[in-house]
């Protein structure tokens, strides 16, 4: 270690400014740190696989004559309509991939700061609690929107390009809004879900396990309770079922469970509300033990 003051201290001659987006450095750093994690890049790249498959589906649907030998009797699978987009955004596989992206890339967003006591350095800066939380949430927004909204919109554009006409757009002018709306709902829910669990423990491994297990076990619980009570109401216990229920509503499709969609919205909103409450109480410059 070099001697103290070897180079001397200089005053900084610049001027500190009030940023319009004080949360942005937090987001940028969160994204960069996630990409440094082992295996994350590979997983994140893998999260685009469903988009590639669905893109291929759109291409094939426009070239049915060429691919007839491949899609014998399966034409309905590549019937491009709002249900196709809903399937892309709310199928079990993509939801699972999103959870895995959150597990590997976002579990430590708050828990690492709690573990290493860095909240007090954050809040010794001209930073408000909402700036900090927005910065952390935006990391989740980035990862989820990039595998939902961006591919969703691109699939729509490619459908028009491959079709060579605007007929699809004229048939479903609201579909873009549905893609945007559902992507935002999904992103907002996952942001609150991730930050809630991340703020509950200083151990990132526990948070990773929680993120994964709560998602999986909520679905298993639904299966068990449905088996016992034989009522679709039990779907409300499952995160996945609620998200798929909302997706069906947003894309004007038949609801997968015979439960009013309002209840699913309420369950997701309750998780977000609980998260906001916990975050409000737990995120502060100093841990106050009363």
């Amino acid at each position: 270690m070099a001697t103290v003051r070897e180079k001397g201290y200089y005053h900084w001659e610049g001027r500190l400014t009030e940023s319009r987006f004080p949360w942005w450095p937090i987001t940028r750093t969160g994204i960069l740190l996630a990409f440094k994690k082992r295996g994350f890049r590979f997983l994140f790249a893998g999260a685009f696989l469903p988009a590639v498959v669905f893109l291929a589906g759109i291409y094939i649907s426009e070239r049915l004559e060429d691919f007839k030998f491949m899609v014998r009797g399966s034409e309905r699978l590549i019937n491009i309509n709002p249900a196709y987009f809903k399937t892309y955004l709310a199928n079990d596989g993509i939801l699972f991939l999103m959870i895995m992206v959150l597990v590997l890339g976002c579990a430590g967003l708050i828990s690492d700061d709690l573990k290493h006591n860095s909240l007090q350095i954050y809040f010794s800066r001209p930073l408000r609690k909402q700036d900090y939380l927005l910065g952390k949430m935006a990391v989740v927004f980035f990862f989820i929107l990039i595998v939902t909204l961006i591919p969703g919109l691109l699939l729509f554009v490619f459908k028009l390009v491959f079709a060579g006409s605007f007929k699809f757009f004229l048939d479903y002018p609201w579909l873009i809004l549905s893609v945007i709306g559902y992507s935002l709902i999904l992103t907002l829910f996952f942001a609150f879900y991730t930050l809630l669990l991340s703020s509950l423990s200083k151990n990132t491994r526990y948070v990773m396990i929680l993120l994964f297990m709560i998602y999986i076990f909520s679905d298993i619980l639904y299966g068990i309770l449905n088996g016992i009570f034989r009522t679709p109401l039990m779907a409300l216990f499952s995160i996945k079922a609620n998200l798929q229920q909302v997706a069906a509503f947003v894309f004007a499709e038949k609801l997968p469970h015979a439960v009013p969609v309002f209840w699913s919205f309420l369950v997701l909103a309750a998780v977000c509300g609980l998260s906001a409450l916990v975050l409000h109480r737990k995120i502060r410059g100093v841990e106050v033990i009363r």
């Binding site: 270690m1 070099a2 003051r5 430590g108 010794s124």
Partner: protein
């Protein structure tokens, strides 16, 4: 005045951490002294806006501690007591990151991060992962992040805690340099009296959430007690009781030296008379200087 507070109170539930504290701190290095639980860290946290006082008011560098927290934080550098870092980052990224969060442009923050890391002696380790830093390096890193935005006032909370003697000397040297030459006012909170005595020209002593003393170190050390050190042979207990009856405070060190704090208006001959009365021989006697330790012991009532 860099810091001024009036009738500041704060409680953690039923425990009063600060009780009606009023003080004004000027330029240079000021020591914030007190035993554990005295309210030192609570005061710093209130000044930074981490905690909202139950009552009272205050200003830091002229800004109100309740209303102008963002302005205060822009001008203040804070080095917390606990280890703080972000896993997976190197020192340059960490320091520039907090510079940016303070309001520096990104490129400037990066340039400045290199400068302050050189200044605190971490230049060779600045690209190493923080997870691999030793306790001393983490302490320097905390100093670097506190200095990166060139604050006008530096809050240092137990800056030499958990350091080996060499690391402690190096950090003290840094603080002394900052406080004496760099136009940065320093508020140093510590329970290590020697650190405060080395670095600070004035001191605030808190005890059980109350202000016990405040002022220039020289003035406070010139207390209205005289300190005598003596060694005796004979019944020490009777001698002690006799001295205590004369309003003296008596302490015995590990090497059997008896320290007698005698009110300044009393004559030292009374010590000899007490010895004669109790049949004690005084084998060694000298008048000693009161130290910060003595002042602290007298005000706080602990050794």
């Amino acid at each position: 005045m860099s810091i001024e507070v009036k009738k500041l109170s704060f409680s953690y539930g039923k425990v009063k951490a600060l009780d009606d504290v009023s003080l004004g701190l000027g330029d240079g290095a000021v020591g914030l002294l007190g035993p554990n639980g005295a309210g030192k860290s609570t005061l710093l946290r209130i000044l930074l806006g981490f905690l909202v006082p139950a009552s009272g008011e205050g200003t830091v560098l002229g800004y109100d501690i309740r209303r102008d927290q963002a302005k205060i934080r822009r001008l203040v550098g804070y080095m917390p007591e606990d280890d703080c870092f972000i896993a997976g980052m190197d020192a340059v990224t960490f320091t520039s990151y907090f510079g940016e969060l303070s309001g520096m442009p990104r490129e400037e923050a990066m340039k400045r991060a290199h400068e302050v890391l050189f200044y605190v002696g971490l230049e060779e380790a600045r690209y190493r992962l923080l997870d691999t830093y030793s306790a001393g390096m983490k302490q320097r890193l905390k100093m670097a992040q506190a200095l990166v935005h060139d604050p006008k006032l530096l809050f240092l909370d137990e800056p030499t805690a958990n350091l080996d003697p060499q690391g402690r000397n190096e950090v003290l040297e840094l603080i002394a340099d900052i406080a004496s030459h760099k136009d940065i006012r320093v508020l140093l909170s510590s329970h290590i009296l020697a650190d405060i005595e080395t670095l600070c020209s004035s001191v605030v002593i808190l005890n059980k959430g109350r202000l016990a003393a405040e002022g220039r170190l020289e003035d406070l050390k010139a207390t209205d007690v005289s300190l005598y050190e003596l060694k005796i042979k004979g019944d020490g207990e009777a001698f002690r009781k006799d001295l205590e009856a004369l309003k003296c405070r008596v302490e015995e060190t590990e090497d059997k030296v008896i320290k007698v704090y005698m009110p300044a208006d009393r004559n030292r001959m009374e010590i000899f008379r007490a010895a004669a009365r109790t049949g004690v021989q005084i084998r060694f006697f000298t008048k000693s200087q009161t130290s910060l330790e003595d002042l602290f012991a007298e005000l706080v009532g602990v050794d």
